[in-house]
Amino acid sequence: MKKPNLACILLVLFAGLILAAAQQPSASQQADAVRQAAAVQPDASRTFVSFEPVSTIHVAPGKFAPAVFRFHVKPGYHINSNKPTEPELIPTVMHFSLPGDVVIGRMVYPPGQLTSFPFNPTEKLSVYSGEVLIKARVVAPESAATGTYTIHGELKYQACDNNACYPPKKLPVTFNVAVGSGGGKKSGPKARPTKTSPHIHSN
């Protein structure tokens, strides 16, 4: 009888190892476990609003360019508008730390949607839900040095759903402004930031 050769033994062991490895949870299985756990356990760090990245805004010294900041409120939740109906309610506001050579003009917030909720059907609250567009003007003074500036800011908001409200949150907002000739147009290739606003905000 012929002896089983070494290659055959190794092949079988290799196949066994592959089969064993296949039993290991994949990255997506682990992610599912994470999601399942998160679904049953309240997560204090969860966010209710996301920010859509903004392309580099180009502006020439002494001119301005429009900026639109697009946010998305998670389905099933709402946040107060910039002008809530009650003084105790926390308005949605956006703040920036500016590097000095760039100024953000007056922010224009969308009007709130007057909505009544199951917890108080008789009263209407001024809220945002779904997509929220906040507009502003990015102004470069005549004296602004040419270069790309990274602007850091944050959106402060307070979210609720149909029967509970959640602590106020701060969502970091970052975008680049390229100051140079031919400015005034909003879109363009992303430039490498050369200057940064003094404060970096974190959630």
């Binding site: 009888m1 089983p4 033994i9 079988v12 062991l13 196949a15 066994g16 190892l17 089969l19 064993a20 490895a21 296949a22 039993q23 290991q24 949870p25 299985q29 682990q30 476990a33 994470v34 399942q36 756990a37 998160a38 356990q41 309240p42 997560d43 204090a44 969860r46 009650e86 105790e88 309610l89 926390i90 909720f117 917890f119 108080n120 609250l125 307070q158 609720c160 759903d161 029967n163 509970a164 409200c165 959640y166 602590p167 106020p168």
Partner: protein
């Protein structure tokens, strides 16, 4: 021939062992991922647990210790001035305190709010809160599971054990049910606990 059979059996055994090892490792790693998340989020007291004790400042500058209320059924109501559902619930709590106060209920309003003491006091006055309003802290909120959504209520029987909890606004009748249970549960052991209450 015999050697070949032994060899095949050995191979089958090795492959089976490897498969079982893989399965075991898979279970282990998935469990550890889940437990890491559960450890990350603070857990509040569950039904039947003794409510974590705390001492908080009241609006009139005094201190109140939860355990000093042993012998009473207690409803810990976490709220904030910016919470609209809390505004709906507060008048109910005022009425419930009036109705069940004589029977041994004590509602505690724990403000989880950084609006400031003055704003909280004004709000409490405006809402005619007839129960102690305490200035909440993050530490106390963590003891009660982080209190992520408001209002959040924990209802304790006279021995300080949690008989129910509610996150978010629920109907007044649900709160009444919890309160009556908390007062009723205490019936059996109220004699002993009340006697030892300060």
């Amino acid at each position: 021939m015999k050697r070949n059979v032994i060899f095949l059996v050995l191979i089958v055994l090795v492959v089976t062992a490897l498969l079982m090892a893989g399965k075991f490792m898979s279970k282990g790693s998935s469990n550890s991922t889940v437990s890491a998340i559960f450890q990350a989020a603070p857990e509040g007291p569950k039904k039947g647990d003794l409510a974590p004790d705390f001492t908080l400042k009241t609006l009139d500058g005094k201190e109140m210790k939860l355990s000093s209320l042993h012998g009473k059924a207690v409803m810990i109501n976490f709220w904030a001035t910016w919470c609209e559902p809390c505004k709906i619930e507060t008048p109910w709590l005022v009425e419930l305190q009036k109705k069940y106060g004589d029977k041994g209920l004590q509602i505690l309003g724990v403000a989880v709010d950084d609006a400031g003491e003055k704003a909280i006091a004004e709000f409490a006055h405006k809402m005619q809160m007839n129960y102690p309003v305490l200035l909440g802290t993050e530490k106390v909120a963590d003891l009660y599971g982080g209190v992520d959504g408001l209002p959040t209520n924990f209802i304790l029987d006279r021995s300080g054990k949690v008989v129910g909890s509610e996150k978010g606004l629920v109907s007044e009748s649900v709160l009444v049910e919890h309160i009556e249970k908390a007062l009723g549960t205490a019936g059996g052991n109220s004699k002993t606990t009340t006697a030892s209450a300060k």
